[in-house]
Point group: D2
Chain length 390, copies 4
């Protein structure tokens, strides 16, 4: 690789921004058990403190996403200022319309208009919070759906969904966006109102340019080719955000890149091909994970590094040679060129990038040596540990 | 059920039209083996003869779909006339751009423009045939895709696909439609160029109102809620056709309703809710199956009956009571109302409908008693049995 | 059907016993939210009261399974006596080694011997409880597994599992059994220590005749043919118990028969073929479900009825005619014979069976009319509602 | 890594033997189309010539598996001698009881005893061939199963299977083995008679020590943890052979390591842990793939290299450190140690190993430069290209 190309790769890696989710610093679990961990944050501010550690060691994670009401606070502007003081910024605002008893049968698609109104009010409140924090993106995930055939009218629920989305879209400011997540199933076990990218895409298309699709890498049916979806949405100008995590089975929410690092590489290669690594593409690269059994901060650091490694490999693909082989129909050479990049050990390259960013060459080791884990274990005693609040 | 409602149900069942595919009368198999059967047609005319038997016994299968080149003939108008003389009509024209050596790496999305041109020429020829036969629909299924990551550019293939579809769309007459099928995988094993309903929908949306999505019930990832897709497309006015068949695993192409009769019922219930049973909705209800080990004609009769039974049950759902329970959030009553219809034995009702249509109360028994199987076994000797030609 | 055959069918249906799980009367939910319901039991006794209602209306649910510690009480013999007074009996004892903080990385397969010892002690305690209640079966489900490749040694965990199972097996009395459940995934997201029937079977085989496999219908990979497993285990004499429930995606724990009634029928047909409906086969037919959004008691009644309907249809299959068609290789006739039974409306037959049992012809309506729901809503106020305790 | 350890790793890699299948040098395809390729062998001898090229360039592929009747010849001892002259040896004999018209409804499990007899005769013939060639292993894959519920008796088919396996087992010589493959589905689409490892294991257990399970990496349900199965079978002493290939969806038969290289690594890590890399473990490491669109010889070379790379990474795992982290319950460190090995670029190491074996450092380049492809394209003209013969 030429010096010029290497510099371009390093520059792209240095400018990548990976957003971490406030809730990944808190307790999480399965329906069977939430195992608590010592030192877990009790307040949004403590979550931001932890996010700041991730940023300090990695240098590419300056944003922390909020989740309302899990990060509810009296003064969001103050929270944003707190984050800036710690060297990070508050990012995407994530709405929550799935944890109130009223939402048992849905939120914005609930058969009862009063529940729909309540859910919509919450979404509007989230835009208010975005105004206060200066956030660009409102992330909408609806757990809405049904558990039994016949339980509700699938089509009528689309009408209700469409109505709510339109109301939110109209409320958005010029620089604000709505990103609509889709998910195959869970917690709804028969039908889900936004189950796939096609549904999210169709709604976003009608809403307008500030409505974009969010791809959560764990939310697909078995066998789904996620990089195809990514390539397709980029071609349509409709890819707004990623929720990175990984899975072997369902929505396992494991660390990004842990279950199928080759898939993560293929996804990031399509991001690169579609121009999605350019900052002006405006794509939010977010983690959305549950660290049920492993310590949270190092798990997030590791996830950030995994996304970086996949990105570095994607950037190493020799696209000119690849295009030649593809045009020639040379299947094995084309595949081989992609695999050459994947098989490269990019860890030294990324260590260099981190050093140039003023971060740590080995973020895992640096965090382990930092004493932060011991400190929060000691200091964060008493109070209520943050969690999903399920 | 009131007399008036019962009459409406019977009327809807009597007006249903199920199209049978010419190729299902011919030999088919797996990659491991095509088991031949005695009496299989050797010509498009003999396939039509068989389709006419299905129509005679069931009364609701007056259309037979063609597949080019499997049904290639010198005079398509004559073929259409032949069908009419047998009491059926030629229906959808199915293009085939997957069985020429040139299509090894794709047809309309092939990296080589010469291959793309050849494929497009075939699609245009199919529209010519539609002109000659008076067919309304051109069914497009593209096996195009790749087997290995890197083999070709996913995004560039979408550009090529879009170009070809536009060219075909412009060629269509005012009364003609293009229906675009999607399929998760097979024969492409890594990426498929039209893998899901979202991709088909997005292309059809750009093409215009005469481009519609075709839902093949066997072409989805495990766990996909097909009736959701049906409901969504009907709401968007973009459901053009069904390819009915059933599956336990992949694209097994078993008889419709054989693997999951409850799913078929749920699909047809959404069709009913979305107005898709009305003739003016213009939805083509087609079978697309492979009878690898069972005799073909009775398997098709059975499949037609299975679609009818699912439709009858869908029509029996008491929508008023159901809407009440849904509005009230009464999960068990709503589900119970749907299940009441499903658990009803509709075979006597359908026997009555068939009788009123002048067909047979028990089509399977009538076919068995007709002597047709013995006759074709005796007569169709010599020549080349029709098949997929793989 | 001859009178004699009909009588045999009714007799088989009348002698069927379906065990209901105490925890299904309590609150449950997903990791996102547990929606509470009014009137939910607060004590094991109240769960038994609810189970007694199910028995009263259906006549075939005289057993209620316990879960320790969810049903922990000071005097298990007294609890059993309480049940008998209400007209039911306590059945299978279900161990719980997944909800203590110590079990974060496993129970009997945990790398730490102290945790393994603790888990084993609990299993032994469960056998003590069985002694007190007179229960025949100890149901073992281990959530043990790992979330990340490398986290622990897959093989060493089998050694530890084997050791624990042997210890429990030796502790069992002559009339007691151990039934070992398997589950594909959840809560472990990478490897599970008893993930499939083969693993459970292999361990049970080594343990001896009183170790049997438990088939939970929701615990398989997509596409798994569960009735094959049932047929195979019956042939081997190794099918000990069912946990019935249904699913569209993962371990959804919906009402049995709600998601795929045809599958439930096929399973019960294999049970019949393998002699599993005979009481001397000793198979426990249990429900294991989560009624997250629907009222619990009627959901359980409905599930019992769904199992009965599938059983009735399985009994209606004309095995003599079927065997003839199978021997003749007549695929369509054989399939048709099975479907004839499935397509029969067995609800009137079951109403008769219930009447003869002294239960209600329409258990759902009878429960609705009974006033029980209103009564428990009124009476069960205050205290702590029972739930999974996650 | 210490010099001593590195030497051990290289030694293990140098002693690895990967068997290539004669049929992978021949034409293959999907049910839609078999695309032929220039230069494809027309005889078993020409297949062996191609296998010898793979061995020459890689140095670790000295065995070529036969498939009867695809490799039928008059003198098998002569064929074995031919192979030895080319520097390779004939290996596993693969039986074929799925391509005769008689096998439409099964072979050894067919309802008709005459068909069962015919199938068994073929299996016996394969043992005769083993005697002639000196092969150790008889590989049995049965496509037997059913397409429709009710078509045949699942349990009776197990009885027939068991009978046939016993007869074959008794016929085996002291040094011969039977390896029983399992497969989820295809070509049977409802039930398969050996669908999973549990079924194969149970039969092999009853047969005796010379019956072993064959794991084909493409034959599992979605989400199956294959390395768990490998670890389990090794612990039981019942893992006899691998059929390596890779898949994104069903039994795609892509090049090993192409679809999920991380999975292949995890599998080979469990092989290492279980002692399966030791020659005395007697495990056959075979490829079983279809090169439908890519040139066959280089695809096989690439596959051999992929297996080698996965093996090399598996050998690099620091098991001592890993055991420490596992015992300590340090999830992230344990996972990190495994990933360190996986993320290492082992290509230079393998180039060294090949050089020491007298093979080529870069087998793909060496083959491309060898002129063999041009030569066979020129020479192998006329005659009938070898293929699956479906």
């Amino acid at each position: 690789m030429s010096e010029r190309k290497l510099a371009a790769v390093k520059s792209a890696l240095a400018s990548q921004r990976i957003e971490t989710p406030s809730w990944a610093y808190a307790n999480s679990g399965t329906r069977f058990k939430v195992f608590t961990q010592a030192g877990v944050p009790r307040t949004p501010q403590e979550k931001i403190d932890d996010a700041a550690r991730v940023q300090r060691h990695t240098g590419v994670a300056p944003l922390v996403a909020l989740h309302i009401p899990w990060d509810r606070t009296g003064d969001y502007a103050a929270l944003a200022a707190y984050a800036r003081q710690r060297g990070v910024r508050t990012g995407t605002v994530n709405a929550n319309v799935f944890q109130d008893d009223d939402y048992k049968l849905g939120s914005v698609t609930h058969p009862d208009p009063a529940v729909r109104r309540k859910a919509l009010d919450h979404l509007m409140e989230c835009v208010d919070i975005m105004d206060a924090t200066g956030s660009r993106d409102l992330k909408l995930w609806f757990s809405d759906g049904t558990n039994y055939p016949g339980q509700d009218d699938i089509r009528a629920r689309q009408d209700r969904l469409s109505e709510a989305l339109s109301a939110v879209y109209e409320r958005l400011g010029e620089e604000q966006r709505l990103v609509l997540e889709y998910k195959l199933f869970e917690p709804a076990f028969y039908s889900t109102d936004v189950p796939d990218w096609g549904t999210s895409y169709a709604h976003c298309l009608k809403l307008g340019p500030r409505a974009q699709v969010c791809v959560d890498t764990g939310h697909h049916a078995p066998g789904t080719n996620i990089e195809f979806i990514v390539a397709f949405l980029l071609r349509e100008g409709k890819l707004g955000a990623f929720d990175f995590n990984s899975r072997f089975y369902a929505d396992d929410d494991l660390m990004a890149g842990a279950a199928d690092p080759f898939q993560l590489f293929r996804i990031l290669y399509e991001v690169r091909v579609g121009g999605g690594l350019e900052p002006e593409a405006g794509i939010a690269f977010m983690l959305d994970q549950c660290h049920n059994i492993e310590p949270k901060i190092p798990a997030i650091i590791r996830s950030v590094m995994n996304v970086q490694e996949a990105t570095a490999k994607a950037l190493l693909v020799d696209r000119e040679e690849l295009a030649k082989a593809q045009r020639a129909g040379d299947v094995l050479t084309a595949n081989g060129l992609l695999m050459d990049a994947y098989n490269t050990d990019v860890r030294p390259l990324l260590a260099d990038v981190r050093e140039e960013l003023g971060a740590d060459r080995d973020p895992m080791a640096a965090y382990a040596a930092s004493g932060w884990a011991a400190r929060i274990t000691e200091e964060r005693v008493g109070g209520q540990q943050a969690g999903w609040g399920a």
